[in-house]
Amino acid sequence: MNFRNVGIVYRKELTEWLRDRRTLISTVLVPLLAFPILMVGMTSLMTVMIGKAEKETAKVMIIHGEDSPRVVEKLGQVKDLEIVPYTDDWKKRISEKEIRAAVDVPKGFDSALAQGRALTVKIYFYQGEIKSSFGANHVEKFFDDYRDSVVSSRLSARNLPSDIIKPFEVKQENVAPPEKVSGAALGGLLGYMVILLSMTGAIYPAIDLTAGEKERGTMETILSSPLSRVDLVLGKFLLVLSASLSTAILAIISMGTSFYLAGNSGAMTQKDAAVFQLHIGFPAILSVFLMALPLAVLFASVLLTIALFAKSYKEAQSYLTPLTFIVVIPAVASLLPGFDLNPKLALVPILSTSLVCKEIVAGTFHWNYILLILLSSSVYAAAGLFIAVKMFQRESVLFRS
């Protein structure tokens, strides 16, 4: 191996790569812009939709209730509700969004309440429809408050303190530090994103540098130079790896910025905004990249090998696109709750890295697993690179027609 020649090939591939609009779009522009567009779009849409739904005075229909004027009158006084006259097709009207909800006040509700008999009030709404849910919530809140006031008046009529029905309070308190909370919530996504993007970022350069060269007729040109095929494949491999890592890094920067902006924009309630507050430190991010590095090496070499086998750009694309699913499935599996690392899973490529990244982001460092995963994925990466070098030495692959 000649490092000077590897460097020359790498520099030349880098120059060509930076001048290729197609690969630049897929490896730089898309990861950089995808998150801000997605986040800004999502949050503004959410804010607009929720704000609009919350401001709306919900039209609600009362079923029965003719013999309970008290509760009907009180319902009519709720400012967020507009009571519409009863019609038999109330179900259809909810479905067609003409009214938001219907409330079934059972027969003799007022008198049952006076006699201390418990009856059930039913609220009908359209699940999944946000405005219908808000309408139903307003009705439910009214009945909750009404029930509380009835309980209070019954207690005071009997000269009993109000805490007789609530002898003690129960409250949950979080002891997990912020990074653990965000680690469990969104942090798992970081490892997944790095893995997935280091794969997708490598696809186009890998095709361009192999099948693309065959298609353009430059493969024979470079093979006629004194450059050894090992140096050639290493120079190309380093470029694909650079593209893969820069895609992942750009996407993470973009993701971090988007989350930060979304969490601090003031458009959301404090509770919603807290979801977007990622407390992931720089060491954790660096560790995730370190863990993903052997995997990126594996992706770059496997993609180069497969794309080299193809005769044309199109053929290579049809081979490599399904590979994305092979990467997505274990990466997604690692996000499932209860999927934890064990010695066997530590040997499964992609899944193991994704799982350990989730732990690292959450602040847990299982050093024995980290070392085992780093070792196993490095072995897979070395094997992938070895196969890529071998493939570049096979005439049947280079001159496949």
Binding site: R19, L223, S224, S225
Partner: protein
């Protein structure tokens, strides 16, 4: 000097089985001479030239180029060869200058030598007008000149040309022919395959006629004319290959 010694190349094809692309081909080309390799499409010319340029590895036999064995020292062979064919395209996103410099560096030239060599070639081939233009924006003639500059940058003692004028207009083809002739005058050993007999007449000192991977005739043009009692080179080829074609048709 180039010396092919029983060069053979066989490929495996799933449908057709073993294909004998080149079979036991031997010939010699001295420095300052041009060896023309003639034959129909699929006769084995390109495979022979690829074997000499070490782009392919021979199944049997070998060749020695400038004292280096193509099997034992392929990288040293390539360092002594300039290879130009219709299949050796240019990198579209590099400029003409960057492309020539790239191959100069791969051939081990240091930066001062490379700069001097590039300037010299660009002046000689009148390429300064499109020096900084990307290869995908070049005309066919400019591309061909850039390819020539690429093969010349390391000043190799051996040049291999595989149908270098195919598909080119008269003026560009003329530039190439002049360039090949110029290479001979500079003492380079040249192997050249073509379909155009006027080029053979004008350039070749020695000719080999290849058919079905086998070298059927080898000699100087006057020797072949005497042997086959024909002046026209096309007729000589028909005389050499014709009987085999009739046998295969029968």
């Amino acid at each position: 000097m180039i010396e092919a010694r029983g060069l053979s190349k066989r490929f495996q094809d799933k449908k057709r089985g073993e294909i004998r692309a080149v079979e036991n081909v031997s010939f010699t080309c001295q420095p300052g001479k041009i060896y023309g390799l003639l034959g129909a499409n699929g006769a084995g010319k390109t495979t022979t030239l690829r074997l000499l340029a070490t782009i392919l590895e021979p199944t049997d036999g070998t060749a020695v180029v400038c004292g280096h064995d193509v099997v034992e020292e392929p990288e040293k062979v390539r360092a002594n060869v300039g290879f130009l064919s219709t299949a050796t395209a240019l990198y579209p996103r590099l400029t003409a200058e960057e492309l020539v410099e790239y191959f100069g560096r791969l051939n081990g030239l240091d930066e001062p030598t490379l700069k001097k060599r590039v300037d010299d070639i660009f002046n000689r081939l009148d390429m300064n007008g499109f020096r900084d233009r990307r290869c995908d924006k070049l005309s066919t003639g400019m591309k061909q000149k850039t390819s020539i500059a690429r093969t010349l940058v390391h000043d190799p003692p051996v040049m291999i040309f595989d149908e270098p004028t195919t598909g080119l207009d008269v003026m560009t083809a003329r530039t190439i022919i002049t360039f090949i002739s110029d290479c001979r005058d500079r003492g380079k050993a040249i192997i050249f395959s073509t379909h155009i007999m006027s080029e053979v007449d004008r350039l070749c000192d020695r000719v080999g006629i290849i058919h079905d991977g086998t070298l059927l005739a080898d000699g100087t043009v006057p020797e072949l004319r005497t042997k086959y009692a024909e002046h026209n080179l096309e007729e000589i080829i028909v005389k050499v290959v014709g009987p085999l074609l009739k046998n295969s048709e029968a």
